[in-house]
């Protein structure tokens, strides 16, 4: 018998605008000692389905309309709050997406770890602490005795996720629900956490539900894959079946959206558009302390029409390089030469003229768009500011931009919050292109987007790059995305370039240990190669 057997689960949200069916009759099961992955884009109902099993969907507005969820033969959906509470944290434990916000910042991790033990098992405080130390050790926290009384902010994201995992496992649950546990983490940390989850699951022989938006992430660990779309299951199968013989068109689309190929190299170029020499950008850290050397002695060229990829983990300085070139952060030393002009010495009016030729696209389009401005205002502003269009012709210019980035003209009077993430990124791209720049810095432009949307935006950027003859610096922590788009790739580590080369060179013949480590961290390599 399956450990958890969900049948025809239906969950809806009752809002002022009517009832919205989030989960529409899904059935799946989880066996002891197996990992069931639930894959779907945001809004597909995958998280809601799992939260509703444990009574963690607030009711109202949530409402469970029907179905059964048999956990060891007992129906979770029929239990009252008291019975559910007995199961939560003891028999079924959870790990959440963002370890930064999921741990209580006001309590030491030790206290938070011991809580489920103290509450469910009524063990003595000393014994609970002993057990917490053991588990911290097991999930790979260095020197648990010294860190158990620290607060969450004293740990890195990856370490916090380890603490979350320890907390979930402290009562030896039979089922673990992991909701996008690696989405907020860097690619190398992601690989470590995935490995850890798989190891612990194997060792304890427990069932796992692994929720993710990214098929590639679960490629190495899932036994069964359930693909969800708009509240329904479109396909269920084992790992091999899904990756090699997917039947449903949506699954195929998800698989196709995983970037795998390399771009063909550009023909030889004479004079580069941008020459960066010995660039250093340091941030002072209060007096008496060593400055943070975010970018430390970096030199490279970007040729006209080239897409240069910049990869590295958070803190490697990749975003800072882009911002330094655009002079959005003060440069400590070094030279940035743009088409024969030395940028680091420009001031005032000259800088403004230069800025028109260089634009930036940010990771979070929602944060970088003014919520009080319509699409029209957002796109018209740079056109007028830089004198590209006159008051009379500006409307035409805005519509042309909207066509270029694939936004329907009917949306012209809408505000940012009325758009989806992908559409907002289109607006942001449109705004960046409004000044007809020659050079664009794209800082993680797709990492906040769902996989299929990500693929659309990447295609758009590629097409626009050709149409506008753009030179691009493409910053990302995702190697696969960069490989797909970039002509050349620089690998950054601690503010320095450790390796550079074409996508194929780097992927097939990595020279440096760090590059190899990055490559090995890409999820699903074995199945996607």
């Amino acid at each position: 018998m399956a450990l958890l057997d969900v049948q025809n689960l239906e969950v809806s949200f009752v809002t002022r605008n009517g009832t919205n069916k989030a989960v529409d009759g899904i059935s799946f099961s989880v066996d002891t000692g197996k990992i069931t992955a639930i894959i779907g884009e945001s809004g597909s109902g995958k998280s809601v389905a799992c939260y509703s099993l444990l009574g963690l969907v607030p009711q109202p507005p949530g409402r469970i309309d029907g179905g059964r969820a048999l956990f060891e033969g007992r129906d979770l959906l029929q239990m009252d709050e008291h019975q559910l509470r007995e199961i939560r944290g003891r028999d079924i434990a959870m790990i959440f997406q963002d370890p930064m916000t999921c741990l209580n910042p006001y309590m030491t991790i030790g206290k938070q770890l011991m809580e489920p033990l103290l509450y469910h098992r009524k063990v003595a405080r000393e014994a609970a602490r002993e057990r917490a130390l053991e588990l911290l050790e097991e999930v790979g926290i260095r020197d648990p005795a010294a860190t158990i009384d620290n607060f969450p902010h004293q740990f890195s994201g990856g370490m916090r996720q380890r603490v979350m995992i320890a907390m979930a496992l402290i009562n030896e649950p039979k089922l673990l629900i992991a909701d996008e546990p690696t989405t907020a983490l860097d690619v190398t940390i992601q690989a470590q956490i995935l490995k850890l989850i798989a190891e612990l699951q194997h060792k304890r022989d427990i069932g796992v539900i692994f929720i993710s938006h990214d098929l590639a992430v679960v490629a190495d660990i899932a036994d069964t894959i359930v693909v969800m779309k708009q509240g329904q299951i479109v396909e269920t199968g084992d790992r091999e079946g899904i990756f090699h013989n997917a039947r449903d068109p949506y699954t195929k689309k998800l698989l196709a959206a995983i970037p795998t190929d390399s771009k063909a190299p550009l023909p030889g170029q004479p004079e580069p558009l941008i020459k960066v020499r010995k660039l250093c950008t340091w941030f002072a850290q209060g007096h008496g302390k060593e400055p943070v050397k975010a970018v430390n002695d970096v030199s490279f060229d970007i040729h006209r029409g080239e897409v240069l990829g910049l990869v590295g983990e958070s803190g490697s300085g990749k975003s800072t390089i882009g911002r330094s070139i655009l002079r959005l952060v003060p440069v400590t030393s070094g030279e940035v030469n743009f088409d024969g002009t030395e940028l680091t010495r420009l001031e005032g009016r000259e800088l403004k003229t230069m800025r028109r030729r260089m634009q930036m696209i940010f990771q979070d389009p929602f944060a970088s768009l003014n919520p009080r401005m319509t699409v029209y205002d957002t796109l018209a502003e740079p056109l007028l500011l830089h004198g590209i269009e006159t008051r009379k012709s500006v409307a035409q210019g805005v519509l042309k931009l909207m066509d270029d980035v694939g936004l329907a003209r009917a949306f012209v009077r809408k505000y940012p919050h009325e758009f989806s993430g992908g559409q907002r990124q289109r607006i942001a791209i449109g705004r960046a292109l409004a000044t007809r720049p020659e050079f664009v810095v794209a800082d993680e432009p797709v990492s906040a987007l769902d996989v299929t949307i990500q693929a659309q935006i990447l295609d758009l950027m590629q097409a626009l790059g050709r149409e506008y003859g753009l030179t691009m610096l493409f910053v990302s922590h995702d190697l696969a995305v960069v490989r797909h788009l970039a002509d050349r790739i620089l690998v950054l580590y601690h503010g320095k370039i450790v390796e550079q080369g074409s996508g194929d060179d780097l992927f097939e013949r990595p020279q440096e240990a760090y590059t190899r480590q990055l490559l090995q961290s890409i999820p699903g390599r074995s199945l996607l190669a």
């Binding site: 963690l56 939560r88 741990l103």
Partner: protein
């Protein structure tokens, strides 16, 4: 931490200096003087009085001489209560005001926190609307209206509590404390509700629920600390407001506190008394603001680590 406190205390010096200077010259600009009364005194007597209190010197000299005395902690003699110094008068009146303020603060914190938490647990239901509407009324109702109303209901119609006095009849401290604390209870309720609501929507509260903790533990152990930080940060300004408000309440309930001296001093043009009370209160307010900031920072482990260095 000590560095932070020292910095804040140093920053307070110019603030207090500005308060002293502004008060000093504003009071002098008001028409009339301490020795003008209905019964005219002879020119010689007035001149002698003014010489005794150094009022015959040029204004700037009076100002610097006042600052000099102040540096020694001497607030000068009272112009109205001859033979008594401002220091003595403050020492006599302040304990009463402080006691009233303390009780009012307890009333405000007790009622405010409970109402705020209670409302936040079930937002947008009657459990939220009723205490929050009451809080809105509490904020809008001035103490000079609430005080007499309470006296009327509990002192006269129901005859449960004494209508005035302080420490003479058992129970006479209840009505003034409630009158003074009510508006702050209302503010604290609203702040507490907002703080708790924000925390209760955090991801880590979901984590706590996923651990299977009962709801009371989720609220008390996981939410309260974060949710109450805005309330703690408000305590400093609230204290200032309580001191200012106590003057009205002391007048309504005939309480011999500092407030009544202060108000009378203004009518009497008792220059040193006005200045002395102002300086004394502004120092207290600065200190309490510092105290509530330290407390709020200490409650947040991240800030604690920052200032701890």
């Amino acid at each position: 931490m000590w560095r932070f406190i020292t910095m804040r205390l140093l920053q307070a010096i110019p603030v207090i200096l500005v308060v002293i200077t502004a008060t000093f010259f504003l009071v002098r600009m008001a028409p009339g003087g301490p020795f003008d009364s209905e019964k005219p005194v002879t020119r010689e007597v007035k001149a002698a009085l003014e010489a005794q209190y150094k009022l015959d010197l040029p204004l700037y000299q009076q100002y610097f001489s006042y600052l000099g005395d102040l540096a020694h902690g001497d607030l000068g003699p009272s112009f109205k209560y001859s033979g008594r110094s401002v220091n003595e008068l403050i020492a006599a009146g302040f304990p009463v005001t402080a006691e009233l303020g303390l009780y009012a603060l307890l009333v405000a914190l007790g009622i405010g926190c409970l109402a705020g938490i209670f409302a936040a647990l079930r937002p947008n239901t009657p459990q939220d609307y009723i205490p929050m509407s009451a809080a809105m009324i509490g904020i809008c109702m001035p103490s000079f209206l609430l005080g007499p109303l309470l006296v009327l209901v509990f002192g006269i119609y129901l005859d449960w509590l004494p209508v005035s006095g302080w420490g003479d009849i058992p129970g006479d401290k209840i009505l003034p404390s409630i009158t003074l604390g009510a508006a702050y209870a209302a503010y604290i309720a609203r702040l507490g509700r907002a703080g708790m609501l924000e925390v209760l929507n955090q991801d880590y509260i979901r984590t706590a629920r996923a651990k299977g903790l009962p709801e009371w533990q989720v609220v008390l152990k996981h939410s309260l600390r974060g949710g109450m930080i805005p309330v703690v940060a408000f305590l400093g300004p609230a204290f200032a407001g309580l001191l200012a408000g106590s003057f009205v309440v002391e007048t309504i309930f005939q309480i011999p506190g500092l407030g009544r001296f202060y108000v009378q001093a203004a009518f009497n043009r008792d220059y040193t008394m006005i200045l002395g009370t102002t300086v004394f209160l502004s120092v207290l307010i600065v200190l309490f603001n510092l105290l509530s900031d330290i407390l709020a920072a200490w409650m947040n482990p991240r800030l604690r680590a920052q200032y701890g260095k």
